[in-house]
């Protein structure tokens, strides 16, 4: 885990919709932690697959992506996909990282 590096992107600061039954778990540093769904109901992507920009028909030109460049390799993560997964566990060469939303 200590080799994990993170691209923390928090435009929305949301988990799921407001109508979820947010249940208080514990309080940490004075603030409660809420759980709205059981573990892994929002499935992280562990084996991400990628297509070329020309083949990326599921994201429109004006839609947002998270972009990273690591060791000269550029990757884009459409935020509409991240809405349903929140986390992509990824690697470029020996560098492991997580894209989170």
């Amino acid at each position: 885990m200590r080799h994990l590096v993170m691209v923390a992107i928090v435009l929305s600061s949301v988990g799921l919709a407001a109508q979820l039954p947010w249940r208080e778990q514990v309080t940490i540093d004075g603030d409660p932690v809420f759980r709205g769904l059981p573990k892994d109901v929002i499935p992280a992507i562990d084996r991400p697959t990628f297509v070329s920009a020309a083949q990326a028909t599921s994201v429109a030109d004006d839609e947002p992506v998270i972009g990273v460049v690591i060791d000269g390799v550029a990757r884009a993560y459409p935020t509409w996909l991240l809405n349903g997964h929140e986390i992509v566990n990824d690697a470029i060469g020996p560098r492991r990282f997580a894209v989170t939303w």
């Binding site: 988990g15 409660p32 573990k39 986390i87």
Partner: protein, 215 residues
Amino acid sequence: MLWRENLVMYDRQTDSWWSQADGKAIRGAKRGTQLVQLPSDLMRFDEWRALHPGTTVLSTGERPGPDRYRTYHDGRAIGVTGRTRSAGALDAKARVLGFRLGDRAFAVSMETLVTPRVVQADAGGRPVVVVLGPDRQTARVFLAREHRFAVGTPSSPRLIMQDASTLTFWDAFAGTAVTGALAGSQLEPVPAHLSYWFSWHSFFPDATIIGGRAR
């Protein structure tokens, strides 16, 4: 899970809980461990592709549906658990570019960056330059070192800035010197991410606002 209205993750090795906004473990065996943040951008796909024509794109085979957070982004709601908190100096849902240098946190008001496009600031004793992205929705932060930057002559489709001492022209968003004495030089990026102000403020209540304006 949510903590301070922001994502909490777990790791499968130790089941520790990790807070997304600051990349820190808040519970479990890894409590107190800090992840390293990498530079990244949140921007329009066409602008990203123009900057990086060789980019690949995450694809899962899923078909896009309506943006389930559209109402949240467009509305006044602060977070989703129903707990709101005072956000201090800026509007709660003002968009800021948050970054940390040393043990201090900073928030660049995106609203006040749009017109000047290039803003130089002192970030706790370290000069930084903040550059607006081509889609005007995102920005990058670089260590400015000894340079004093101003927006240069717009002879390029890309935003150009010029440093006062050598008059070198820089591709501002790339942080790369393109013509002049320093051509080829690269400014060091500072990892940053876009956030709503209330979220950044809830994690970093002492954050210094760059370019803030009274509500």
